[in-house]
């Protein structure tokens, strides 16, 4: 296919966008050729999303020009972007849960649709690209992978010349990622350009032809990801060398600290998942990971473990004591510490200062006395936490919501760690956290388990689980697989389990 003579599909020149407190994009140049899969690489806050919103007409740039197939254009709205032939698949899907697949797609098409004809077209396009969909199903009944298919098919129906994918694989199983890549390569071969936003380096190396790296709102380099190593790309991205993990190979595993004993929970939420016979033991000095595509019961399991939704007392044992009936405070008294997935709102009160947020879980550990708050101690505790865990904040008085996601997470993890945990349950420890902070948090968890704490990590990042865990279990459709030692399993096998393929019944070999 000769596309050499054609003008570039998309050319950005000198794009700048300022927000009151931050320059999101500064003097950005970007060139995407027809049929090219072009990676946009950068940490959270590097300005990738803003740049894509500018291309898709959601945000207007302050200065700079956009050329589309060689013509200077101004993209004022998403509708205009679609007319030009630009489609976008959003990171947090822009779907409407209570509408059907076909209705969701109809909403994105600009002309009035005959629903019957549309359903037929959806089926046709979805089979052509290997993206099976049922047009009449309600979106909230779909798995995350299926939702993404809806988004992609929605774009494909408009026959785009440029498809923007914002972190498309963060919610997919490894197998689904492979299928997605096949689809994308096929589209590219048909001449459609793809702008692929991600921070997952191995994926970019596998899929993309060119990579533009952003850091702090500026382009820091363009690279050929097929030649570069993940390490060199990461260093372009974070601007410094990546630290290596320090992990003790021979680990001492102690007595069972957290036992989940035949935990079943029916849900009355139509968007929820029922838990069925969950069985797991976490020993002292051990890190166990629970992998799974979100929405497979992780939330329900976390509520049952944290004590936010207590149940039958023998379902959860903490240090041998029946704790299933206790509330969150009762379990904390037994030595359980908990870091939820939602940092603001559940892990911390956004409007309150960091020091007052320390009081939230630390009141029983000397931060209050006979019902009175000990402000001097709280401040001391908060300062120590900020220092020890490298939290970038104006000080203990800074409101939690003024911190970036990674720094809030470091503070919350630090707070729980300073409160002498014996069991730590942590969800998505590095979700939305930049590479530097993520490796810091992972190292902290490794160090913690070396001191004899039992750690349970629930995460969607398989690489992370393989890096830090001793054993990994998979949650799918509310059922938990047997936790397997990391050395005896593979990303392949875990991926199959995440997709709902069961290999063995969930019995605990090292049970009580």
């Amino acid at each position: 296919m000769s596309l050499k003579d054609a003008p570039p599909r998309l050319e950005l020149s000198g794009i700048t966008k300022r927000y009151p407190s931050v320059i999101a994009n500064q003097d950005i140049d970007l060139l995407v050729q027809p049929g090219e899969i072009h990676a946009l690489l950068g940490e959270n806050g590097a300005g990738k999303s803003t740049l894509m919103k500018i291309v898709y007409g959601v945000v207007k740039p302050d200065t700079g020009s956009i050329f589309w197939n060689g013509q200077a254009v101004q993209i004022r709205s998403p509708a205009q972007a679609r007319t030009l032939g630009i489609g976008m698949v959003f990171q947090h899907f822009s779907l409407f849960d209570t509408l059907t697949v076909a209705q969701n797609i109809a909403l994105a098409l600009d002309q009035k649709q005959d629903m019957q004809a549309l359903s037929a077209r959806i089926s046709e396009v979805s089979t052509r690209y290997g993206l099976p969909l049922e047009p009449d199903r309600l979106v909230h009944l779909l798995s995350v992978g299926e939702r993404q298919r809806v988004e992609i098919v929605r774009c494909l129906l408009q026959e785009p010349q440029l498809l923007i994918m914002d972190e498309p694989t963060s919610v997919l199983t490894p197998q689904a990622v492979r299928k997605l890549f096949e689809t994308l390569r096929r589209l590219a071969a048909e001449g459609c350009s793809i702008l692929y936003i991600s921070h997952k380096l191995d994926e970019i190396r596998e899929l993309c032809d060119t990579a533009t790296v952003l850091r702090g709102g500026k382009v820091t380099g363009t690279a050929n990801p097929k030649i570069e190593s993940s390490k060199s790309l990461a260093e372009l991205m974070i601007g410094k060398e990546l630290p290596a993990y320090n992990r003790t190979q021979q680990r001492q595993v102690g007595e069972p600290r957290l036992v989940i004993n035949d935990l079943s929970r029916a849900t009355d939420d139509p968007f929820g998942t029922s838990l069925e016979h969950i069985q797991l033991t976490v020993h002292a000095g051990e890190i166990i990971g629970i992998a799974g595509v979100s929405g497979n019961g992780q939330q329900e399991l976390l509520y049952a473990l944290s004590g936010e939704k207590p149940g039958i007392s023998t379902e959860v044992l903490i240090k041998g004591q029946a704790a299933g009936g206790l509330d969150a405070a009762g379990r904390r008294d037994l030595g359980l510490r908990f870091v939820p997935e939602e940092r603001l709102g559940r892990g911390a009160v956004p409007e309150m200062s960091l020091e007052l947020n320390a009081l939230l879980t630390g009141y029983a550990n000397g931060l209050s006395k006979s019902g009175f708050t000990q402000y001097a101690k709280i401040r001391e505790f908060s300062k120590a936490c900020i220092e020890r865990f490298n939290v970038k904040a104006a000080g203990p008085e800074a409101a939690a919501k003024s911190l970036s996601g990674g720094n809030v997470q470091k503070y919350i993890v630090g707070r729980e760690l300073m409160l002498n945990p014996e069991v730590l349950v942590i969800a998505q420890p590095t979700w939305g956290v930049d590479v530097g902070a993520a490796s810091f948090i992972r190292q902290t968890l490794l160090d913690l388990s070396n001191t004899g704490v039992a750690v349970l990590v629930i995460s969607e990042e398989l690489d992370e689980l393989f890096e830090i865990c001793d054993r990994i279990a998979v949650i799918a459709a509310g059922q938990l697989s047997t936790a397997k030692p990391v050395a005896e399993t593979s990303i392949e096998e875990i991926g199959l389990l995440m997709g709902g393929m069961r290999t063995s019944p969930a019995t605990e070999q090292r049970a009580i």
Partner: protein
Amino acid sequence: MDTNTLILMLVATVAAAIPLIFAALGELVVEKSGVLNLGVEGMMIVGALFAFIVAAETGQLWLATLVGALAGATMALIFGFITLSLMANQVATGLALTIFGVGLSAFIGQGYTSVALDGIKNLDIPVLSSLPVVGKLLFSYNILVYLAFAAFIAVTWFLYKTRAGLILRAVGESPSSAHALGYRVIRIRYLAVLFGGAMAGLAGAYLSLAYTPLWAEGMTAGRGWIALALVVFATWRPGRVLIGALLFGGVTIAQFHVQGLGVEIPSQFLSMLPYLATIIVLVLISRDAGVIRLNAPASLGQPWHNELH
């Protein structure tokens, strides 16, 4: 109770339900777009007053009805400007709108409390209206009653069968997603709010022109609040709004009859019954959390602005 009384009671039930049908259908559309306007009572009573004034001054009942709807829509425009353009809190603004409407109507309406008015007459359709039973039950109402039922069909059809209705529901479900697809969230919400105001105004016009053709301070008597409750307890479904409104009308009429029979129950207690019965019944039939989650607009009451997200 003979057939004749029963027919009269059914007819009266429908007549009593009409203001709720108008107001609740309007509020349903507003809430489906994600906006919570607690000012229904205020918009309704302002609609009632202005419709009455125009009728009393000009004798033009059609014009009066139209002005009633416009007055409601004007009130809604104030609400829309404050909550959608200035992004103020919807609950507080809605409450203030009701207080404002009740006060304003009492003030302007002072001179009209003793004015007599020939209200909107019931239709007298040749042949049909004089049919036995059916004629009374179906063909003897005033035109606004038929308009209310037409509005019910139109709103249901609009919400579930048209593309515009789909867009409106999508905006209420997730304004950010709708915006990302290129829909003009604020404009769509303005239109919904204006429609809600006009419908509340119509409900008021029906009260002061047809139901009880007179002006009395506070004559809406909490019907705006009941309309609001109807929408929520009907889990945002037009069919249940209609059932709830008719139920309210039915209990209202039944308790009048009980009062007329001279039963030894305090009349205040009986007057309370329609409100209580409607809410209890709707709560009981709408307990299903799943149904609520599928029908409730997910963004209800949350201010939204392009630059915030």
